[in-house]
Symmetry: C2
Subunit: 424 residues, 2 copies
């Protein structure tokens, strides 16, 4: 008893091509396992001349051919970026067509509105592939951890920056050199800013945090700091102290308070996230019933993303009724969002201090004045010009207090070369 479902693609680049190949090459197995066959009726492309591997009759340059086709029940969106994707997704939903998307940007920025459009027409809205590629983290949060109060999520959710940091760590290389290599290898975009400045991670974190805490966490509320300022020397100093540097997307909930931030973060070498190397993604979380969990997989790439898209497609086509996540309500009045820099964590700082009596004591006193207590300190050999390098790891302290202490230390006592956060 097989059922054939007619679908349309919006876009057919890397991911769309992967879905096409997976659906055509693995159709017998998918049909056998799920009872479903997928018939790709129309594919929106920019130019009819490319895409030689697709049947000519399927291609179109008019979006209406996809979203107005009454036979198409599910639309797969692969355009990426905010517009026109957001507009097309909305139009499809308004026409009662279920949408499966890998578009984190359109989704993170317009989720509320998209869900409203979906509910109004009874269409489904599926977005597993928008976060962490092949990893079924969306589905896990929605369908396997409902009986948990999630305390926190730490994610390595951007493969480009994880690749760069992994190579910097292993080779002692500098950021700019590894970035060039990554661009040459196609692992970083020609304009890498969305990845290296942490925006891509922040989009994904806003989606993960909203689902984990059952309260919508807008993208604008995520503090974002990328890896462009990371220096090889700090990675080295951290390694000597037993830490690995990762770009972490962090969401924590304390009662009704939620903090969300993306920044380079030192974690202990034996933390399961420390071994997540290269272009892999991973999400580590803690729930009151499940305890610690981690999910690792490929966060990008044609077939890994297609694996998640097709699982959503099967889910969408099998659903008797589409479900939508529940947000703001009497249980989470409005999950209170932390001010951008109002959190506590441990810190790492490297300073260049004058090599004279009393300097260390003044630094320590300034920290103490702001309630920052020191967990570990290393003094490195004297440098030319009578300066020494000091490396501090602090106990947990307030971000604002730490920033204030750093301001007071600079520039009279020491030059602060770097300030990085540490999570256990």
């Amino acid at each position: 008893m097989e059922k054939t479902v007619k679908i349309g693609f919006l876009g057919c680049g890397n991911v769309g091509g992967g879905v096409w190949r997976l659906l055509s090459g693995f159709s017998r197995e998918i049909a056998h396992r799920t009872g479903l066959r997928f018939d790709v009726r129309r594919v929106l492309v920019r130019s009819l001349d490319k895409h030689r591997d697709l049947p000519a009759g399927v291609l179109t340059t008019r979006v209406e051919d996809v979203i107005d086709d009454p036979e198409i029940s599910i639309v797969l969106e692969f355009l990426g970026g905010e517009e026109p994707a957001h507009q097309y997704i909305t139009a499809a939903l308004e026409r009662g067509k279920t949408v499966v998307t890998a578009n984190k940007v359109a989704f993170a920025l317009h989720w509320h509105e998209l869900q409203k459009a979906a509910k109004a027409s009874g269409a489904g809205l599926y977005y597993e592939a928008a976060v962490c590629g092949a990893i079924p983290i969306i589905h896990t949060l929605e369908e396997s951890l409902q009986a948990n109060r999630i305390h926190y999520i730490y994610g390595i959710v951007n493969g480009t920056t994880n690749y760069i940091l992994t190579r910097m760590s292993k080779e002692g290389a500098e950021y700019a050199d590894v970035l060039k290599d990554a661009q040459r290898l196609g692992l970083a975009e020609p304009d890498p800013s969305s990845d290296v400045e942490g925006l891509d991670a922040a989009y994904k974190l806003s989606i993960l945090a909203s689902l984990a805490f059952h309260g919508r966490v807008p993208f604008e509320n995520v503090y974002v700091e990328g890896i462009t300022q990371v220096q090889a020397e700090d990675i080295r100093c951290g390694q000597e102290l037993g830490y690995t540097l990762k770009l972490l997307a962090i969401a924590k909930r304390d009662g009704l308070k939620v903090e969300t931030r993306v920044h380079p973060t030192f974690i202990k070498n034996d933390h399961p996230l420390a071994n997540i190397s290269g272009a892999f993604n991973a999400v580590f979380l803690n729930g009151h019933a499940c305890g610690d969990m981690m999910f690792m997989g490929r966060g990008a790439g044609d077939l890994p993303t297609a694996s998640a898209i097709v699982s959503d497609l099967v889910r969408a086509a099998s659903a008797q009724k589409h479900l939508y996540p529940t947000f703001e309500n009497e249980l989470n009045p409005t999950v209170a969002l932390q001010n951008n820099t109002d959190w506590r964590c441990a810190f790492y700082s490297r300073m260049l201090a004058q090599d004279r009596p009393g300097v260390l004591s003044r630094i320590a006193q300034t920290f103490a004045d702001h309630g920052v207590s020191i967990a570990a300190m290393q003094q490195k050999g004297a440098r030319a010009g009578g300066h020494v390098t000091l490396v501090f790891i602090t106990h947990e302290a307030s971000e604002q207090a730490m920033q204030q202490a750093i301001l007071e230390i600079t520039p009279d006592v020491a030059t602060v070369e770097s300030l990085l956060r540490v999570e256990d």
Copy 2:
């Protein structure tokens, strides 16, 4: 629009108690997120005198009070072990009641028959908690990786043995000493055989492999070797060569051939599974579309298991129609099961050899005669009595050839102290 679902428990020990606490303590959140309230009508216990925390009217010592209650639609089975659990689950399914179970033994041994009973009455059969506690690996295989040809699964699926091996590795302690400690801490049973001899892992592997390869892999087909013979010295020698020892449950598919085996296994220190410590479980897999993935979490314990049970309960109560995995069929004629010892892998072996000319060459020649090629070798300082320790790592070779080579080396040339498998 909340729906109340009446449920019954078979058993109320550690896991049952955890489910009770989670359902009662977190009911508002579960109802809000899922629209479902669960009303525990009857709980089968051995004695009415214990279980003071449960309402007295709920307790019963007669199984009929649970499985014959027409108001109960879902039965949760927490008895564990093969009988009477298997018999009770069957009876419940025959009466059209959906069953949620954490029972890997009854399930691995009687899956076919249980699924037949479920299908006949239209009841659901849910077993996420039977494998790896809180980790949603069953659900992921069934609902997120349908579009993948799974090539292999490596699992750390038994927390007791992982705890013992982790402590042996970190402390250089011997098996028997750590086992005693684990028993004192309640991390190993008074009779630990099912865990330490690998049976528990084999039950779980037969379930995982069946789902991953869409062909039933009976428990009897799993090669099983536990950790009782593991020596601290081998863990140490492995560490020097860059390897960590884990009890791995391994399932590989090559075309239609499937091999399944549970044994102590050396993996490289930078493999993501190497950092899975203590009582944690993890499953590492590779699919043709998704690539490498890993899922880590608590494999046992009251609340972690309850987290999985409640997710199944929600799934069962929300399903319009219960689904069953598909097995043997035209696509997997009968997935051919490998003979118990018919596989290829790399090996580690430690030998005590006589310290005289020609010994090493005879060993190397014997390996070569059987097609076993050496990847790394270490000779350790001479021992009393003119013996030296030799440690070999081989390239991939046939298990049977390796066993034959070992037989020929012993005892004339060297005493083989240990033979362990290595996976990359």
